[in-house]
Subunit: 72 residues, 2 copies
Amino acid sequence: MRNRIREMRTGHGWSQAELALRLEVSRQTVNALERGRYDPSLPLAFRIARVLGAPIEAIFLDEEGEAGQPDS
Amino acid sequence: MRNRIREMRTGHGWSQAELALRLEVSRQTVNALERGRYDPSLPLAFRIARVLGAPIEAIFLDEEGEAGQPDS
DNA sequence: GATGAATGACAAGGACGCTTTACATTTCGG
DNA sequence: CCGAAATGTAAAGCGTCCTTGTCATTCATC
């Protein structure tokens, strides 16, 4: 599932580590999410939406018929 | 994390099995979600929102400082 | 009272989400 | 260049999500 975490994070002028702190997850988790290695849990998705100041639907793109390769 | 799946499902006049079919998950998963045993993955949350015809934020309640015991 | 539909529950198993630890690479100001 | 900050990666480990299979309970209708 595609997301706009990176573009919204840099829009706030935050490093991955800074965002991780605000989300209370590890820096590696933020990195993995931005790189599309996996999707966040629903509770984490809500925290991301809150911290980035946008609704979940505006951050995560529901691409319907998409397979969604975890990178590779 | 609390949700309104049951009330919205019955509002549509569907059984758990019918909703499960539409979501492409097992009946047990729908039952577990309604009973708050765990939260759905983000992709499943999007499908639930689509099938129930409401935004994710209207179905799943972000109770902020809530511990959120998976029942027990 | 028997039958069937709907719901609740539990166990075992596989895949995913997130952690910590650790190391490599890129970027950039001096 | 040099050093430090930021980013990318990997592995081991644990808990969560979702599956199939099975059984119990409740309720309605016959």
